[in-house]
């Protein structure tokens, strides 16, 4: 395990470098820079040039790239051009709501999706299964921005007292915070439930035909024990992977859901920083998101080995 972990971490370094290069390249190709947006158009060109000089925007591409990456290596994300705040502290401020939303959506997905998936599999060829399968396809086909907008519409038409406009952090008022987060969480959760349910169903169906299940049944075990002790424990492994890998998808969903519900999270920070051409902020946020995505993928792989002892990474790595 240790060797495997080390190799995985080592392999992540070139990927991470590639990621920084792509982010830096893309950000630098965004037409128009912060100086154009900050200053009036009729300002003298010398003033604009001086501002570019102080912001180091006039240096060559690779010099700026090196400055940025060498800063990242020691945890220095730089400073926002717009408000002069350190980028990292801004990211950490906005990190909470996004993480909370992702956790809510994942919990909803697991807690509702797995039981429904098992039900669907055990009812194969029955109407229940057909219904659940169709609902699952509908669930991950619905666009989250539309569901979110519909939620807001229903609230504003029928429940005018429901709190949605002002975001309150969890640490200040947990109850109010959860109330505010319930609708965005549900919006993201619908797709998650649908996907987890689908994966659980197909995974259970595969395991239920395995010989050890027939053995368990033929030795007279209660069907419930067979289902929970033999089938489910083996069937949940791919589901864990799915839940982990869906995290990237969740981050994408966060951008949209945060925009719809006005939640100050990382997704909004991405859109805001791109629209303001605040390069250090764009670079920092996108790098942070890509980094967390990589870390989560790594954790999923490790977790995978922990739950399934049949998988031995040392052998594979050799």
């Amino acid at each position: 395990m240790g060797v495997y972990l080390f190799k995985r971490l080592l392999a992540a370094i070139p990927i991470l470098l590639g990621v920084t290069l792509v982010i830096f390249f893309l950000t630098n190709l965004i037409p128009g820079d912060v100086v154009d947006l900050l200053l009036e158009s009729e300002v003298q060109p010398e003033v604009a040039a001086r501002l570019r000089q102080t912001l180091a925007l006039d240096k060559p591409f690779f010099v700026r790239y090196w400055n940025w990456v060498s800063g990242l290596a020691v945890g220095d994300f730089g400073f926002s051009i717009i408000n002069g705040q350190p980028v990292l502290s801004q990211i950490l401020d906005m990190y909470g709501p996004s993480l909370e939303l992702a956790v809510i959506a994942t919990l909803v997905g697991v807690l509702i999706g797995i039981p429904l998936g098992v039900l669907s599999a055990t009812q194969q060829f029955h109407l229940t299964d057909d219904f659940l399968r169709l609902s699952s396809v509908i669930g991950f086909s619905l666009p989250s921005f539309w569901i979110g907008t519909l939620f807001l519409l229903i609230i504003s038409l029928y429940f005018p007292g429901f709190p949605i406009l002002e975001y309150v952090p969890f640490s200040k008022d947990p109850v109010l915070n959860l109330k505010i987060m319930s609708l965005p969480g549900a919006t993201l959760g619908i797709a998650m439930v649908a996907l987890v349910m689908r994966m659980t169903r197909s995974s259970v169906l595969e395991v239920i035909r395995a010989q050890f299940v027939t053995t368990a049944r033929s030795k007279g075990l209660n069907e419930r024990i067979v289902l929970f002790k033999h089938v489910l424990r083996n069937a949940l492994i791919p589901v864990v992977t799915l839940v982990g890998l869906r995290f990237g998808y969740l981050i994408g969903g966060l951008v949209i859901v945060e925009e719809v519900f006005g939640i100050p999270g990382l997704g909004r920070l991405v859109i805001y920083s791109i629209s303001k051409r605040d390069y250090p902020l764009v670079l920092g946020v996108v790098f942070f998101i890509a980094l967390s995505f990589l870390v989560i993928n790594l954790l999923v792989d490790i977790l995978y080995a922990v739950i399934d002892p049949r998988i031995s990474y040392e052998k594979k790595a050799e």
Partner: protein, 318 residues
């Protein structure tokens, strides 16, 4: 492997054997079975029967065909021009305007019908980009492996380490929001999925006897790839393309919703929902109907994609 192929080719030239392979074009060489060559006549009919015995995939096909029909026949079906404004702003559904009008007095039904052109057109073009790039890069990476394959696959790893929506936002910010750039962006972000799929299939197919036989007969690499490898990996590619098509529609509408995609006044389903949000309490139909068309189209495509996958799976099992 590559060098041996070259060896055969040069020997063939030296001996001046003319077109030695073409006569085998439609035969099984030396009794070697090639799955794709067997997929003819009654087997195709069996496959289609299997696909449409399933009520879900039949429903999916009907919805898909209807959506394509609406998009193609937009000028005939639409009662009004999609951009023409009338003094009747936000009027509820009536006989003149079957789904009502939006905040600028434009006929909602006509905008939805023309919006189908935009949504399906953008999705189709971007899937075409992702598909062609993915097949070319995937074939190269899978067939030649080595440094070229490694470089291609690592590049794809880097693209995949970004959450899709974040990467799409970055690229579109760089290119500037427009329909063409939206097509390019979605095409690029979905390319790695196809590259991985094609690469994996090529790796498993290229060890088969029929590929070795083709090489032994002195076929060029291009011929082997086009006539022996590609036809035998086409099933998973079709399935993936149909499922990607539906998510591409979702991404297109989400980016248009965020104001980064199709620009007004061009009607797109995501953009229409975004524009109508301000007035949604007064005119709920302006956010509800475009969303219904969007959702139903995506559901239909997903059902069709699922059906295709199941039918191919069963077919390959038998």
């Amino acid at each position: 492997m590559r060098s041996s192929t070259r060896g055969f080719r040069t020997r063939r030239r030296r001996n001046k054997v003319q077109k030695p392979v073409s006569q085998f074009k439609n035969f099984n060489v030396g009794g070697i079975e090639e799955p794709a060559r067997n997929f003819t006549g009654w087997k195709k009919i069996l496959f289609l029967r299997r696909l449409f015995r399933n009520k879900f995939s039949s429903a999916g096909l009907i919805v898909t065909l209807a959506a394509v029909g609406i998009a193609l026949l937009a000028p005939i079906l639409a009662p009004h021009s999609p951009v023409e404004m009338s003094p009747l702003a936000i009027s509820p559904p009536s006989s003149e305007y079957p789904l009502g009008t939006d905040y600028l007095g434009r006929c909602l039904l006509s905008r939805i019908i023309y919006g189908a052109r935009v949504s399906l057109g953008v999705a189709m073009s971007s899937v075409a980009i992702a598909l062609s790039l993915g097949i070319i890069l995937g074939l190269l990476a899978g067939y030649y492996e080595g440094a070229l394959g490694g470089a291609i696959m690592r590049g794809m790893d880097i693209i995949l380490s970004f959450p899709l929506v974040i990467l799409a936002l970055g690229i579109i910010a760089m290119l500037g929001p427009s329909m063409t750039n939206l097509i390019i962006t979605i095409g690029v972000v979905y390319t790695p999925t196809f590259v991985r799929l094609v690469n994996g299939s090529v790796l498993s197919v290229k060890r088969n006897e029929y590929v070795v036989a083709a090489r032994a007969l002195g076929s060029r690499d291009v011929r082997i790839l086009a006539l022996h490898v590609l036809p035998n990996i086409v099933a998973p590619i079709i399935v993936q393309a149909s499922l990607t098509f539906s998510t591409a529609i979702l991404v297109e509408s989400a980016l248009s919703f965020l104001g980064m995609g199709t620009q007004p006044p061009t009607p797109s389903w995501g953009g229409m929902i975004s524009e109508s949000r301000m007035m949604m309490e007064l005119a709920p139909w302006t956010v509800i109907y475009p969303g219904i068309f969007l959702s139903v189209t995506v559901i239909g495509l997903n059902l069709l994609g699922d059906g295709l996958r199941d039918a191919f799976d069963q077919f390959l099992k038998n």
